[in-house]
């Protein structure tokens, strides 16, 4: 498709003298950069490192569970391993993954701005992330934590002999990274849109990030203060969560889930944004029901705050509260349903190409569907009593988080890779990897649904021998999955050094980010664009010279 390079959009200057990557090579020019694109690269590197670390922990979990006895890891170690797996994957990988990497990089490009509204704060976010991550790593090296990523009291406050405080502080600091990123996005989307870029011309990726940012701003401070209280409880025996003196451990759960349920939407909404881009652009047609997808993101963000008690159905909260939360959980599922249906309808009468990102989008829909529908099992209060704290939940959330967000992240990374690095990755290997990931993923986590219904509790280093067969499947799947995830690491790295040079707009798409060079110049656009077309407009109105492109394509192939 490099053949179409010549006939690009009228407004693109092909070769800027310097792009954001070549604008300075010193370490300082990276570590003190205020360019959103460079900050995104900083995130890309560090977040990937955390993902690899989380993945190593995951491998240990699966290896240990190969046999029913706790032989490879003693429970003392195992408990630390799954806790750290959860903490790293959630707080240091999945929450920043799409917003901080793709969001940081693309939001200004997509709305036609020179940068985010607060570039310094953006850099500060990354430093908060690094400080929080560094502190957490330090604690892990010292001996780690063993409380589960949920930090339930009173175990975490009074009984655990592990580095709860250090890790808690790490998460606390990291929380501000998230808050500041959200704040930056919201302000940017409000004030920095290019002329003509009205709200309903925004790409859905931007809408999704707007919704995500709302959750970040409204939810994250609560977990921050909760962790602060937890730390105080450990240092000074405050008593708020301590039943021995009249405190209430369940209050901790309320405060924790007030953030952490909405946080699962921080972990899916950006992915949904990516999928909206992919589906529409690779079907080469306008997305079906734009407004519905946009508003369903907001609805998910808002209603997501009303359902946190569904994590506490058997915790001892009141029976009445359980029913209310169960009811609202059902309500919050509807906007997700709307998205799925609209994506499906978008394909109708499209011109669908099978590029790798589209493959990921396809997998996303299938896997998120299963993950979301099993969420309904868990939301149905009578059923959760049996399912909660079993592997059914483990399967559920890996389906939405890995099958959903991680695949969306990979899809997005492939899709925008040429824009970010200016190089093309290998189409062949990326397809192979995507398929391996899909197969490995399902083999890993589908058996866990059955295990869960069989009653295998989670966070178990040892389990009854009759459940071994399914666990073997799961471990086998995890090995395949790991291989599938290492392949992209290789071909992406390869492409940076040896990859083919990417054109500004390899797929001939109308989005603003494709109307500047790859990689973009430091201030993104040579000239501030003026937007006169709607999102995903493939007609002539968008200024795409499609006729010409098609002709060129025919001629040269």
């Amino acid at each position: 498709m490099q053949n179409v390079e010549a006939i690009n959009l009228r407004n693109i200057k092909q070769e800027p003298k310097t792009n954001y990557l070549t604008n300075g090579f010193t370490l300082k020019s990276w570590l003190l950069t205020k360019d959103h694109k460079r900050i995104a690269i900083l995130y890309l590197i560090t977040v990937s490192a955390f993902f690899a670390l989380g993945g190593v922990y995951a491998s240990f979990i699966r290896l240990e569970l190969l046999t029913p006895n706790s032989d490879l890891l003693q429970s003392a170690t195992y408990n630390r391993v799954f806790t750290q797996h959860g903490i790293i994957m959630v707080f240091f990988f999945l929450i920043p993954a799409i917003p901080a990497i793709l969001g940081d990089f693309l939001i200004p490009l997509m709305i036609g701005a020179k940068d985010l509204a607060f570039p310094k704060i953006n850099l500060l976010s990354w430093y908060f992330y690094m400080a929080g991550g560094g502190l957490t790593l330090y604690a892990l090296l010292q001996g780690g934590v063993d409380t589960g990523w949920t930090f339930y009291t009173p175990y975490s406050t009074t009984f655990s002999n592990s580095y709860v405080m250090a890790v808690g502080l790490g998460i606390f600091i990291n929380g501000f990274s998230s808050i500041l990123t959200g704040l930056n996005f919201i302000v940017t989307i409000h004030t920095m849109r290019a002329p003509g870029m009205t709200w309903f011309r925004l790409p859905l990726f931007v809408w999704a990030h707007y919704a995500t940012s709302l959750v970040m701003i409204l939810g994250t401070p609560v977990i921050a203060i909760t962790i602060l209280l937890l730390a105080l409880e450990r240092i000074a025996k405050v008593g708020i969560f301590d039943p021995a003196i009249g405190g209430d451990p369940i209050l901790f759960q309320h405060l924790f889930w007030f953030y952490s349920h909405p946080a699962v939407y921080i972990m899916i909404l950006p992915g949904m944004g990516v999928i909206s881009e992919l589906i529409s652009n690779f079907s080469r047609k306008k997305i079906f029901g734009y407004e519905f997808i946009a508003f369903s993101s907001i609805a998910i963000a808002v209603f997501g705050f009303l359902v946190w008690g569904h994590h506490m159905f058997v915790s001892g909260q009141s029976l009445y509260a359980g029913l209310v939360f169960s009811f609202l959980t059902m309500v919050v599922a509807v906007p997700s349903a709307i998205k799925i249906f609209n994506w499906t309808a978008t394909l109708y009468k499209g011109s669908i190409s099978y590029d790798t990102p589209m493959l990921y989008a396809l997998f996303f829909i299938g896997l998120f569907l299963i993950g979301g529908l099993t969420g309904l099992f868990l939301g149905s209060i009578g059923l959760t009593v049996h399912l909660t704290d079993t592997y059914f939940i483990v399967a559920h959330f890996h389906y939405v988080m890995v099958g959903g967000q991680v695949l969306a992240y990979l899809g997005g990374l492939h899709y925008w890779w040429s824009k970010i690095t200016g190089k093309m990755y290998s189409e062949f290997w990326s397809k192979i990897a995507a398929i391996i990931i899909f197969v490995g993923f399902n083999l890993t986590f589908f058996p866990q649904f059955i295990l869960g219904y069989m009653g295998m509790p989670r966070r178990y280093a040892a389990y009854p021998p009759e459940l071994q067969v399914l666990n073997i499947f799961s471990t086998a799947g995890a090995s395949i999955l790991a291989i599938g995830l290492i392949i992209p690491l290789i071909y992406f790295t390869y492409s940076i050094f040896f990859g083919e040079k990417a054109p500004a707009n390899p797929w001939l798409l109308p989005g603003l980010e494709w109307r500047t060079a790859s990689p973009p110049p430091t201030e993104n656009f040579e000239e501030t664009p003026i937007v006169t077309w709607e999102a995903y407009d493939f007609t002539e109105d968008s200024g795409l010279d499609l006729e010409d492109a098609r002709n060129k394509y025919k001629v040269t192939v």
Binding site: G112, A113, K114, H190, T191, M192, R193, A194, P195, G196, T198, W199, L218, V222, I250, L251, H254, L255, F258, F305, L306, W308, G309, Q317, S318, L319, Y320, A321, V324, F325, T528, I530
Partner: protein, 116 residues
């Protein structure tokens, strides 16, 4: 150019709105009076005179009044764009969610909600 909300454009009145001294002093007076009032009301046993919880209610009502004065006038929300209004309201609304849904559990614990 690049510019902001075309849809929001007509309203940036806060930009050069300079609030008159009387308003500031008026708000100040309300705050001072509110503080003194709240102190003295707290020493009267309204729970006994009116209904249980009356002391709490009145103290909170006064605090709310004071807060609204500060938000509207000192913080200029009164003259600000719709977005700022919504932001301020959203903040307190979400706080209300946190309170309401947490208390929903605490207030319905124990027997009595479901007949045995």
């Amino acid at each position: 150019m690049a510019h902001h909300d075309s849809d929001n454009h007509s309203e940036h009145p806060q930009e050069h709105h300079i609030v008159g001294l009387p308003i500031y002093l008026g708000v100040f007076a309300v705050l001072v009076v509110g503080t003194i009032l709240t102190y003295f009301v707290a020493t009267i046993d309204l729970d006994g005179i009116l209904f249980p919880g009356a002391n709490t209610l009145i103290a909170l009502l006064i605090a709310f009044t004071k807060m609204i004065c500060v938000v509207l006038f000192f913080m200029h929300v009164y003259w600000s764009s719709r977005l700022i209004w919504m932001t301020a309201i959203a903040g307190f609304f979400w706080l209300a969610i946190l309170f309401a849904f947490t208390m929903q559990d605490y207030l319905t614990r124990g027997a009595g909600v479901f007949p045995r």
